[in-house]
């Protein structure tokens, strides 16, 4: 027991963890070239271990600790050492504050990683949005459209779909039983590939026809590796059999690039589809004007700005505001950054509809790094002043030697 305590309070563990931190950052940065940012984040930083396996094989072994493991060990080490070795005296108040600041920094980053989310809200000029769509996560939606005034949305996470591949999702929350016949993390799709004799065209021989009985049934797909570029998004796809008890209503092929498909059952209208996970808010934004200006004669952007109307029925707010570069809208714990824009002279010439996209960031712990840095800085300053005052006082008490 004693050796465990000595290990978790040792400076050696601190140095080891810091070394691994640097190694993970270095290796992870290099890996981004081939694997892209999001995959590297999952494999190197948001994991307990980094796994490796030969290309094409199904087995993998852990080769180094992941970001979560190193971060947790570092924090446990810091807290344990702090409590085991630190003596609470007035003279060490600065050290105490600095260490608490470090702990807050580590905890805050972990909380940010776990609790924050980023999504995109794209609005066409004149259009209104009250939801944003996740950059990466998707969901299967079953929508009851029967009511004339509102839709009831049953959203099934892609994590559940993946884990229930080939199995049944039978939840009291859902109006139907769903059987996940197939699930693909990323596919290429195409349609009508037959050459007239019922054979696949030569250049699409590696495509397979989806096993759907209703809706998009004449679709061919090919599973492809996850997208690695920041500009691409995986096309999630699945074949879902909808059942009322033991009776099959139909098998639908759904994919994030396809529209939802509707059907009626017992007088109610439903639709099913796969889409980016949505986050609905209790307010809406209307894009009044998207402005994209370049410096004359160059492609250098001078101004990106979105004039929007914010409406919130619960607070009776109805105001106009401007979101532009480095001037986001902060509202109800969300921050709307100007992210992308389809506007300006070039867009008008091409006959496109102007639109603006906001990056919507929700980070309930955004204040922790600021607070932590203030605490560390204040702690070190206090400690320095305590020493300086003591030193000056001792110097003044010393008799000058002649």
């Amino acid at each position: 027991m004693k050796w465990i305590w000595q290990t978790i309070t040792s400076l050696k563990l601190t140095v080891t963890c810091l070394s691994f931190s640097m190694l993970i950052v270095f290796v992870g940065t290099l890996a981004q070239v081939d694997q892209g940012l999001y995959l590297v984040q999952d494999r190197y930083f948001k994991s307990l271990f980094v796994f490796w396996g030969p290309a094409g094989s199904s087995w993998q072994i852990p080769v180094m600790p992941g970001g979560y493991l190193v971060g947790i060990l570092l924090m446990v080490n810091l807290i344990a050492a702090f409590m085991a070795k630190f003596k609470w005296t007035r003279k060490k108040i600065g050290i105490c504050i600095s260490h608490l600041g470090l702990i807050l920094l580590l905890l805050g980053q972990l909380a940010t990683d776990l609790l924050s989310r980023e999504s995109a809200m794209e609005i066409k000029e004149g259009g209104t949005r009250s939801f944003s769509s996740d950059f990466r996560l998707n969901e299967l939606v079953l929508i009851d459209e029967t009511s004339p005034s509102e839709d009831t949305v049953y959203a099934v996470s892609e994590g559940l779909l993946q884990s229930k591949k080939g199995a049944i999702i039978d939840s009291g929350k859902l109006p139907f039983t769903l059987k996940v016949e197939s699930f693909w993390p990323n596919v290429a799709l195409t349609g009508s590939l037959e050459d007239g004799q019922g054979q696949l065209k030569e250049d699409h021989a590696d495509y397979q026809k989806v096993d759907a009985t209703t809706g998009f049934s004449n679709v061919y797909l090919k599973p492809i590796p996850p997208a690695t570029s920041m500009d691409e998004r995986d096309t999630r796809a699945a074949v879902i059999e909808v059942m009322d008890g033991d009776t099959s209503i139909g098998k639908w092929f759904v994919a994030t690039v396809l529209d939802p498909q509707s059907w009626t059952h017992n007088g109610s209208t439903y639709s099913i589809g796969m889409r980016a996970k949505r986050y609905y808010e209790n307010f809406s934004l209307t894009l009044l004007k998207a402005t994209h200006e370049n410096y004359t004669g160059t492609d250098e952007p001078r101004n990106f700005a979105s004039r929007v109307q914010l409406r919130n029925a619960s607070t009776k707010e109805n105001r106009e505001l401007l979101i532009y570069m480095n001037h986001p809208l902060r509202y109800q714990g969300l921050t709307f950054y100007q992210y992308q824009m389809t506007a300006g002279e070039m867009v008008q010439r091409r006959g496109l509809e102007p639109s603006s996209t906001f990056q919507v960031v929700k980070n309930p712990t955004w204040v922790t790094p600021y607070l932590a840095c203030i605490m560390v800085g204040a702690g070190l300053t206090i400690q320095f002043l305590i020493h300086l005052v003591g030193f000056v006082r001792r110097r003044s008490q010393m008799k000058p030697s002649i």
Partner: protein
């Protein structure tokens, strides 16, 4: 002797087994950490159930039917069919960047009815206030003079406009004077029911096209209904769904701009070849053509064993490529429309698409 660094002093103190109090404190810290991790891992609910209010852009009166727009300026067009072949038309025209006075737009319609133009200061006296959505607009009631020549005699236009934060909106009801008299209140009720915030989006967009983050998905091309003919879709055309009169639609994007491809079907001869081509000419700002010009603008092709007509129209800015296929007492329209350069880019893909159609 210089004072020791406090950090060094802290870590150089003799390591000792912590007191039970401190161990409990550490256990508490680790417990909090575990709780945080646990709560983080559980934050994604597997199944979420929530309600979303429907975007209802307007309350459509009984007897109104959505029809294809006859002008690119229109957001939507409705036909009102009365008894004895009487009919009227309602058009919604959004003008987000109106550079001219409202009276000048009204004057265009006055001109149609052979009425004298009005000036800006006449707007207040010649119009009445009307409720459009949650805003106050103005309404003009224009009747052609009895002496108006030809088909304009007895015609009437009731038009309303409103300045909303998202631009100026015009609503126009046109038809025979006597028939419109009975439709005026219905039109007023329709104006009051309009939701100007969601109008444009709800009518013109397939919602899912704008719902995913703005990154390019993998190619998808699907012939989605058993009622539709089969075709080979160019790989870069993305399905954008069906809507009122459109049985299927696709979008082809590129550096030159976006081309919208639509598939629609009308009964019988759909009014004939020439009127349809002239309607498209009007949409892209070309003068109407005559029967004699048809051979220069059209090409006869064979689609799935039946004769069909291929049309290419090039306006100053916009262009149209279309195939018209009469089949089993119906007429199918396959139409690509967009910027002239973009339509040129898609020309060969459209031809291949048209030739692959199988009924």
């Amino acid at each position: 002797m210089p004072p020791k660094s406090l950090v060094t002093a802290t870590y150089q103190s003799k390591t000792s087994m912590a007191s039970p109090y401190r161990r409990n404190l550490l256990a508490g810290w680790i417990g909090c950490l575990g709780l945080l991790l646990f709560s983080g891992c559980q934050r994604e609910a597997d199944i979420r159930v929530y309600e979303v209010a429907k975007q209802i852009p307007y309350s459509l009166p009984d007897g109104w039917e959505r029809v294809e727009n006859t002008s690119a300026m229109r957001l939507a067009t409705f036909r009102i069919q009365g008894e004895n072949s009487q009919s009227a038309e309602v058009a919604i025209l959004p003008m987000p960047d109106l550079q001219v006075g409202d009276h000048e737009i009204v004057n265009l319609w006055r001109q149609q009815l052979q009425l004298d133009p009005i000036s800006e200061k006449d707007v207040a006296t010649q119009s009445q206030p009307v409720q459009i959505g949650d805003l106050q607009g103005r309404q003009f009631d224009l009747v052609a003079p009895e002496a108006a020549p030809g088909e304009m005699a007895g015609m009437r236009i009731i038009t309303a406009f409103v300045h909303a934060p998202n631009g100026t909106w015009f609503f126009k009801l046109s038809g025979e004077n006597a028939f419109l008299e009975g439709q005026k209140q219905t039109f007023t009720n329709f104006l009051a029911s309009v939701d100007l915030n969601s109008l444009k989006e709800s009518i013109s967009m397939v919602e899912t096209a704008a719902s995913t983050p703005p990154v390019r998905p993998a190619v998808a091309s699907v012939n989605e209904s058993e009622d539709l003919p089969k075709w080979d879709l160019p790989g870069h055309w993305i399905p954008t769904g069906a809507r009122s009169m459109i049985l299927a639609s696709f979008a082809a994007d590129g550096d030159e701009g976006k081309v919208d491809i639509t598939v629609s079907r009308l009964g019988g001869g759909a009014g004939g070849l020439l009127p349809n081509i002239n309607r498209w000419c009007q949409q892209i700002g070309l003068d109407a053509i005559s029967e004699e010009d048809l051979p220069m603008k059209t090409t006869s092709i064979n689609v799935d064993g039946s004769p069909a007509t291929m049309v290419f129209l090039a306006g100053k800015e916009k262009g149209i490529a279309a195939t018209i296929c009469p089949r089993n007492g119906q007429t199918w329209f396959f139409k690509a429309m967009g910027n002239q350069e973009a339509v040129n880019r898609e020309k060969s893909a459209f031809e291949a698409f048209a030739m692959s159609i199988r009924f």
